[in-house]
């Protein structure tokens, strides 16, 4: 084990090419995260074509740099101009921008930077500790359990996708359908090819993703002619000297907030499809609730910067845990990472860490190292960011559209892939305009084949469909899926209804059932705790029940 870590460390840290690529990736991520209208996912997507020719570890290290850099890049624009660079830095704006306006820009940037660093480090430790254990747990999964896990991943994406759940479900189903097109994995029979040899091969994963996400985003960015012609930022900002020492001391002094926010980030990242956009607001909210000086929040509070920045970087580690251990993407970015791994003929899953330990630990080490690059390159990225923001969006968008075409072509050297990207770009654009969330569709595309493969295996092994509800893990994930489907109704329901009072305790009691069925003492204890807590909540609320 220690040998493997040393070898993986050497392959990342002692190879100047890998280090250089990671540095470039981090810089690209910092910029992508900083520029409003761009997202981390877009940064990773655009970096991907460059990694085709690299070794898997180099490619993944580069993308890890973009991933980590992207989460931290958002703080530059939100603090200096008040416009969040990415959705994962929205809450940083609440106190970061006022602190800059009050004449402490160096401290504000330093706090954001070092909170991101420490949050990332905490999540990296948890990643290394938890991912192999979770992978061992994943080895218990049969195809029934895996299929139910995918159902849960899709339902939670849908439930987190906003007000219109039906549109989220439709988007997810369209993604699953897109994954069906072409030869099926089991029998090799052509489906929905309409006589085309190209379609018979199916839609390659990356052109679909680039089309749905990057292409459609660029079209939305140039929609407004006046905005597209204006420089990216009207508010001028100046390069600032970051107050590192003071910032480190301040962050460490507020260690409780740092750790709490990091764990919120990790937990949110582990949940399939719940990314930094949620964790930063959750962490900010908790920091505000826990603070003795709530009135300071919104006026440049130190904890108001530490919480969201620690949380959003920690989310990256959480999302990687799911990706590395179970092959289920924790968010859109890790969905793209899974695609990148597949390009290098590596399928992440429970046996990934055991089968490819060098690569797996290489990814862990790259995740660690990228945080150091992020700190080191922030000052340079800030200068580049100020230069890039003088460019109008229409120039960036036009050049990137052409780049998308070249990058997609490089995947298989066929023009059809560019047509696929274009087609899905048009679909993605209109879906955005019509209020359909894209995240469920992307997850549908990523998980579609895996879902079909597992259900086919399950039916192949046994025609007993009751196994989906009698196998403990499968039942656990199906209950989780039902709980997540009902979650939006719980959120929107009035406070004093029977449903809102009973939603949490009944969910806990139901979830304890599969844990008891698993038989292992630890899980039975966890099940017992859940059952007791559920019954206690019901007892506590019985007085309310009587009044209803």
């Amino acid at each position: 084990m220690f040998d493997v870590i040393l070898q993986a460390g050497a392959s990342v840290l002692l190879d100047p090419v890998t280090l250089g690529l990671m540095g470039i990736g981090t810089l690209a991520g910092l910029l992508a995260g900083a520029i409003p209208g761009f997202t981390i996912a877009m940064g990773v997507i655009l970096t991907l074509p460059f990694t085709f020719g690299m070794s898997p570890i180099q490619g993944l290290a580069t993308m890890m740099g973009v991933f980590v850099g992207g989460f931290s890049g958002g703080l530059m624009s939100c603090m200096l101009t008040g416009i969040p660079g990415t959705p994962s830095s929205v809450a940083t704006t609440f106190d970061g921008f006022p602190m800059v306006r009050s004449g402490k820009p160096g401290l504000a940037l330093g706090l954001g930077l070092w909170s991101s660093f420490f949050g990332g480090m905490i999540s990296a430790v948890i990643l290394v500790a938890l991912a192999p254990q979770l992978a061992f747990l994943g080895l218990e999964f049969g195809p029934w359990d895996y299929f139910s896990l995918i159902v849960f991943a899709l339902t939670i994406t849908v439930s987190l996708s906003g007000d219109n759940m039906i549109k989220g479900l439709i988007a997810g189903l369209l993604g699953l359908f897109a994954a069906c097109v072409g030869e099926d994995e089991i029998n090799g029979v052509a489906r929905f090819a309409f006589g085309s040899d190209h379609i018979r091969q199916g839609f390659a994963f990356l052109p679909v993703l680039i089309g749905l996400f990057a292409f459609s985003q660029l079209l939305s960015d140039v929609e407004d002619s006046a905005k597209a012609k204006a420089p990216l930022m009207k508010n001028s900002a100046e390069a600032i000297r970051v107050e590192h020492r003071k910032a480190i001391a301040t962050v460490l002094m507020n260690w409780i907030n740092l750790i709490r926010s990091s764990f919120i980030g990790i937990f949110t990242g582990i949940l399939p499809a719940a990314g930094g956009s949620i964790s930063n607001i959750l962490a900010y909210d908790q920091a505000k609730k826990a603070s003795n000086n709530r009135n300071e929040f919104g006026k440049g509070a130190v904890n108001g910067i530490i919480a969201p920045e620690a949380a959003n970087n920690a989310t990256a580690g959480g999302a990687l845990i799911m990706m590395m251990a179970l092959g289920i993407p924790g968010d859109i970015v890790t969905a793209i990472m899974i695609g990148a791994l597949m390009i290098h003929n590596i399928i992440p899953g429970p046996s990934f860490i055991q089968d490819e330990p060098l690569l797996a630990y290489g990814v862990f080490i790259a995740f660690f190292a990228a945080h150091f690059f992020m700190v080191g390159l922030q000052a340079f990225a800030l200068r580049l960011f100020l230069l890039v923001t003088r460019i109008p969006m229409y120039i960036l968008a036009s050049v990137i559209l052409a780049y998308c075409a070249i990058g997609v072509f490089a995947l298989h050297n066929i023009t059809f892939d560019i047509w696929v990207m274009f087609g899905f770009g048009v679909i993605g654009y209109f879906m955005r305009k019509l209020g359909f969330p894209l995240a469920p569709m992307i997850l549908g595309v990523v998980l579609g084949k895996l879902a079909e493969l597992n259900i086919a295996r399950a039916i192949g092994i046994s025609d007993d469909y009751s196994l989906f509800v009698t196998r403990p893990w499968s039942l656990f994930f199906l209950i989780m899926a039902i709980v997540s489907v009902l979650f939006p109704f719980y959120q929107n329901a009035k406070k004093d209804t029977l449903f809102t009072k009973m939603y949490v305790p009944i969910s806990m009691i139901l979830l304890s059932l599969p844990l008891f069925l698993m038989g292992s003492p630890v899980r039975m204890v966890v099940g017992g705790i859940l059952l007791s807590a559920g019954c206690y909540f019901i007892y506590k609320r019985s007085s309310i029940l009587k009044t209803i």
Partner: protein, 162 residues
């Protein structure tokens, strides 16, 4: 852009789409092997899509009936709003259609130059700027992919003749 009318239209479109695909699913060959057939999973997905689209249609229709006529009339497709997106679609399609003849280098430069000028304007100063941006950006990317990453990008008839 969304309102009840647009949701009704989309739901009907999705129902038609699902219908066509369910019909096409009957053309999927059955190899006669044991286990799940090749058309089973797509059929499940498509029938769920039919179900969700019907729910969306029903919900939108009910809302459409309850909301005042005035509110429903507010929806109109403003093509001017999508002008830039339509320009991008058109230019990209042109670029792709001519890729075999112009190749990635010439086609890419023309695509970027055309798109920049259509989106940004046609003044002399801007045209020079756009030309420079298109040549430098595409030239750089072409060199990185051709010489750096060893990708054989489409050469095009024109460069092949040369």
């Amino acid at each position: 852009m969304t309102n009840n009318k647009s949701d009704i239209t989309i739901a009907i479109f999705l129902l038609c789409f699902s219908g066509v695909m369910i019909n096409d699913a009957s053309n999927i060959r059955d190899l006669g092997f044991e286990g799940m057939k090749a058309d089973a999973w797509p059929r499940v997905v498509l029938w769920l899509l039919v179900l969700m689209s019907s729910v969306m249609l029903g919900k939108s229709y009910l809302k459409f009936k309850t909301v005042s006529d005035k509110d429903n009339e507010n929806f109109s497709i403003n093509l001017a709003k999508f002008k830039n997106a339509l320009i991008c679609f058109g230019m990209f399609m042109l670029f792709l259609s001519t890729l075999d003849y112009l190749g990635m280098l010439i086609g890419g430069i023309l695509f970027v130059f055309g798109l920049l000028s259509l989106l940004g304007g046609f003044s002399h100063k801007l045209l020079v700027k756009h030309l420079l941006v298109s040549i430098l950006s595409i030239g750089f990317m072409w060199m990185v992919f051709t010489f750096g990453l060893r990708v054989i990008l489409p050469e095009g008839e024109i460069l092949r003749v040369w």
